[in-house]
């Protein structure tokens, strides 16, 4: 059973990718994550200049949810260059550089500062819900704004694929995706955190996060991720690759996001619960499921739901399932 794929010319040994903002500060930690089975690495969001985050508490969670308002801290381009160059010396897996800015112009400038380091993809974070006090509504909440950022980054990207990271906290993610696709986006990362949400300490009656509100992640957001991925896939006719991110803990979660339209699977919050080996576990579980179901290539799963809904009878899925008398046979 084959877990590898080539996406926009980049070879990924398996579909799991470290999501942005998790274990993403140093080259050493990226290598550690890669050694535990991640198929790719995404950096923490990189700014054009040093950017302060929020005070602690910045990350809190229960078994049901995680709220974070780290506030996108970054030491600036010199540190980014040092860490990325260090990682690319031996580059165990592809590297996705995630960039962020407060203006359309600076998105382009940040991309320009990072591109000479030759990341495999640029991921454009237009959807962070934790810096609204500082910068207002994310660009991902307006189709014209999202398109303007896409266009500006594409103008300088010189062939490096540009993925736009979308927000679930919008009326129509499909419209935003369409606008970005028209502006030249090469792919999407779907979704950023949900909400934002809030948690209050009962005795002090204070919000726990220093930023008061934070992006929601964890197992409960998976259905939102699945729906958003399905919407973006449908809106773009499945032509653009999607890095599906949101609530993935197991191989079956990953497969569900792939059936909705994702090619790669971002894993973040689950790392806190299943440890660094979450990447290896998810890959093993995908492999086991696919082997049982007679799926030879993980890529055959991508957009599977849309194909079934459109009445395309996937011979691979249905014929083999018949032969094996699978109880999960679809009608």
């Amino acid at each position: 059973m084959n877990l590898s794929q080539t996406i926009l010319g980049v070879q990924f040994e398996n579909p799991t990718v470290l999501a942005s903002g998790i274990m993403g500060v140093t080259a050493g930690s990226w290598r550690l994550v890669a050694s535990h089975g991640a198929g790719g690495i995404t950096t923490k969001s990189l700014w054009l200049k040093e950017h302060k985050g929020h005070p602690n508490p910045t990350i809190i969670s229960t078994e049901h949810w995680t709220l974070n308002a780290v506030g996108v801290p970054d030491a600036g381009p010199e540190k980014a260059r040092e860490e990325i160059s260090d990682f690319l010396q031996d580059k165990p897996v592809p590297l996705i550089a995630n960039i962020i800015a407060e203006s359309v112009e600076n998105f382009a400038k940040t991309a320009e500062s990072i591109l000479p380091l030759h990341p495999d993809f640029i991921e454009v974070n237009i959807s962070c819900p934790n810096v609204e006090d500082e910068f207002g509504k994310p660009f991902a909440c307006s189709a014209p704004d999202a398109a303007a950022v896409t266009k500006a980054v594409k103008k300088v990207s010189k062939g490096t694929p540009v993925f736009i990271k979308l927000s679930p906290n919008v009326d129509s993610i499909a419209k935003i995706a369409e606008a970005c696709a028209k502006a030249g986006a090469d792919g999407f990362t779907v979704i950023n955190t949900v909400g934002p949400g809030m948690a209050i300490d009962l005795r002090s009656r204070m919000p726990i996060l220093a930023n008061k509100v934070g992006g929601l992640s964890g197992p409960g957001i998976k259905p939102i991720a699945v729906k958003c991925i399905a919407d973006v896939y449908a809106a773009t006719g499945g032509r653009l690759p999607i890095i599906g991110t949101g609530g993935v803990y197991t191989g079956e979660d990953a497969i569900e996001l792939m059936l909705a339209g994702a090619s790669l699977i971002g894993i973040g919050t689950a790392l806190g619960d299943r440890g660094l080996d979450v990447f290896k576990h998810v890959c093993d579980e995908i492999q086991m499921w696919c082997t049982n179901e007679g799926v030879d290539n993980v890529a055959d799963l991508i957009g599977g739901m849309h194909k079934v809904l459109a009445g395309v009878k996937s011979e691979k899925l249905i014929v083999k399932n018949d032969r094996k008398n699978s109880p999960k046979r679809r009608s």
Binding site: P55, P57, I59, D201, S204, L271
Partner: protein, 293 residues
């Protein structure tokens, strides 16, 4: 006693039950409840509206939790103003803890407020039949911590060091460690298990350390030289506390001090080029330990 019903990753606030002024700058807060912390583990201590910082647990006896802290930063200066009955949030315990075998002969090296978690270790280890050499160091006599508490424990030989000589040995606590390590070396491999060797002294099985990083670095080098296992407690900027954010990772291995630390075995520390050289701030920017503030 009320057991703290705690989901370990969400802070809950507790009222301060007792406050003890240890020295001019150091206080111990007692919280009514146990988090189940082991010696060497830390908790994230939240002061609503101010900040949340990692602190070593100074004691958790199954009934109360004690935190000893030095009022040196923005958060701890505010924290020191709290009174009995005021609220503080606790989240944890997180990270690795010191590990020992019953009956071992262990040297504890404490620098500054590192004496607090070392007292927790001492109390637990003597309960397991260990014998201890406890070396406490500070700038001067009035900054030495937990002397009376350590003295009250059985099977503890207490050694003091002050920079100005106002109590005990004049110099660094690590100088005393070197004397202990060199005066009673561990038996070589061929001597181990042999009954012919005359036991004039009790060889040291392990060294535990907590304190400033340059002190830890000296302990690490010394224990490497004398081939004595060591476990040392590292301090880095923490955010989540449970291995997610990656702010407390150490070069070049990228291991997280909240998960694979804070108590790290010396064989791992010897692989960390960052150890004793630099640390990273909340932005991930490097700061050398010798840089001027």
């Amino acid at each position: 006693m009320t057991a703290i019903q705690l989901q370990s990753r969400l802070p809950r606030t507790y009222r301060i039950k007792a406050i003890k002024q240890e020295t001019e700058m150091v206080r111990t807060f007692t919280f009514d409840g146990s988090l189940g912390a082991k010696p060497g583990q830390f908790v994230m201590v939240w002061m609503p509206g101010v900040d949340e910082v990692p602190m070593s647990v100074a004691e958790d006896d199954g009934a109360v939790t004690r935190i000893t802290f030095f009022a040196v930063g923005d958060m701890t200066n505010e924290f020191a103003k709290l009174q009995v009955g005021d609220l503080a949030g606790l989240r944890g315990p997180f990270g690795t803890h010191y590990e020992w075998e019953p009956g071992q002969h262990i040297v504890l090296v404490a620098g500054g407020y590192g004496a607090a978690p070392m007292y927790f270790v001492a109390k637990e280890t003597v309960g397991h039949g260990c014998t201890l050499e406890v070396i406490i160091g500070a700038r001067s006599k009035e900054h030495l911590l937990f002397l009376k508490e350590m003295e009250a424990l059985p099977h503890v030989s207490l050694h003091l060091a002050t920079n100005d000589g106002s109590a005990g040995y004049k110099g660094f606590n690590v100088d005393i460690l070197e004397k202990l390590l060199s005066s009673c070396p561990r038996p070589t491999k061929s001597q181990r298990g042999s009954s012919t060797r005359e036991e004039k002294c009790l060889p040291i099985d392990q060294v535990f350390g907590c304190g400033p990083e340059m002190m830890l670095k000296r302990i690490s080098e010394m224990c490497g030289k004398y081939e004595v296992p060591a476990q040392l407690s590292m301090e880095r900027y923490m955010k989540c506390g449970y291995g997610l954010c990656g702010n407390c990772v150490i070069d070049p291995l990228g291991i997280r001090m909240c998960e694979e630390g804070p108590v790290v075995k010396n064989e791992v520390l010897l692989k960390l080029k960052e150890f004793g050289e630099y640390h990273r701030d909340d932005l991930g920017k490097k700061h050398r330990f010798d840089e001027k503030k």
